[in-house]
């Protein structure tokens, strides 16, 4: 079960939790599992082309764009980070 770190802008979908656990053998599987438990999160991360252009997803310290994208395989100990574009200050 992977650990997913949830950025502040998406915590409204996870009841305020800053990290959640999700099942899946790949990043795509994990996002689908997240969607079951936190409806609406998939749309915030993906569009019909894949990962939205203002969102970046990391497995450990590696951007999945430079791995296998959504098909990136996961180990149970992996930590997934979501880095969305933010503007404010």
């Amino acid at each position: 079960m992977a650990t997913v770190r949830i950025p502040t802008p998406l915590r409204t979908l996870t009841g305020g939790e800053d990290q959640v656990q999700a099942l899946g053998d790949t990043v795509k599987d994990v996002i689908e599992n997240l969607e079951k438990n936190h409806p609406g999160i998939r749309e915030r991360l993906l569009d019909d082309k894949g990962v939205r252009r203002f969102v970046n997803i990391y497995v450990g310290d590696e951007d999945i764009r430079f791995l296998d994208g959504l098909a990136t395989p996961l180990k149970a100990t992996d930590e997934i980070s979501i880095v969305p574009a933010i503007a404010g200050g």
Binding site: P9, A87, G89
Partner: protein
């Protein structure tokens, strides 16, 4: 970084542009001034608002209703900015002035509250071959990205283009916590000072800070092979107004 005498002397001949004198720009400008940067250009067109005083640390209740730049200039000189070092640009950072403003300094600190200005700043700085430090803070989250004059990676390597549509991050729902944005502004200044002193090791590094867990994380970014701005396949070679039309967010 420390500002020992040789570093302070070196900074006297350096210049920085601060885009947006808000929650990020205030602490960033203060740190630049205290470090001894010889020329600090402040760019903003707004007035001091009492509801923002908790995070715009250069302003006091006496400044409410004043132009931000006038109040910031007074505060920076009081804090020890070099005499004559503060320049004021009473305007937003816009397509029509972006390249001129970027070209006129050694480094740009971008603390804008909207995505259009962020992408405009990224583009103008790359086209003018200037280092830029992007900062952002929403609620308990802050990010700082330092970009080399030749990009690779740049802001567009990370986020490609302006968010659009219903799923774009909704800034209007977000507040900003003073200490978190202050930390981000200080970090922006640290990255800018490093760039001014010739340290390239911070370029391409994205720092994310989570105020809820009090954890900071630094990621070394990789340049996007087909980045529209800084790759060999780039398509952006000028500033055109239509590229930066997106809703703004008053944070």
């Amino acid at each position: 970084m420390s500002t020992s005498s040789p570093e302070r002397d070196a900074l006297q001949s350096k210049s920085a542009l601060v885009v947006g004198v808000g929650g990020l720009g205030c602490p960033a400008a203060l740190a630049l001034a205290e470090a001894g940067v010889g020329r600090i250009v402040l760019c903003d067109d707004d007035l001091v608002d009492g509801t923002n005083l908790h995070r715009q640390i250069l302003f006091t209740e006496q400044d409410i209703g004043s132009h931000k730049l006038d109040a910031a200039e007074r505060a920076l000189y009081r804090a020890g900015a070099r005499p004559g070092s503060i320049e004021l640009v009473r305007s937003r950072f816009l397509p029509e002035n972006a390249r001129d403003l970027a070209r006129g300094v050694d480094v740009v600190l971008e603390g804008a509250d909207n995505f259009a200005t962020k992408f405009l700043c990224a583009d103008a700085c790359f086209l003018e071959h200037r280092a830029v430090v992007h900062g952002a803070a929403v609620r308990l989250c802050a990010t700082v990205l330092s970009v080399a004059p030749d990009g690779a990676p740049c802001y567009r390597c990370l986020f490609e283009d302006l968010p659009t549509g219903a799923t774009a991050p909704n800034c209007a729902e977000a507040g900003v916590l003073g200490p978190v944005v202050g930390l981000a502004g200080a970090l922006m200044a640290d990255r800018a000072l490093s760039a001014l002193l010739g340290d390239r090791t911070r370029f391409g590094s994205l720092v994310s800070y989570d105020g809820k867990t009090d954890r900071a994380r630094e990621l070394a970014l990789t340049a996007r092979a087909r980045c529209a701005l800084c790759s060999n396949e780039r398509s952006i070679d000028e500033i055109t107004f239509h590229r930066y039309t997106a809703p703004s967010c008053a944070a």
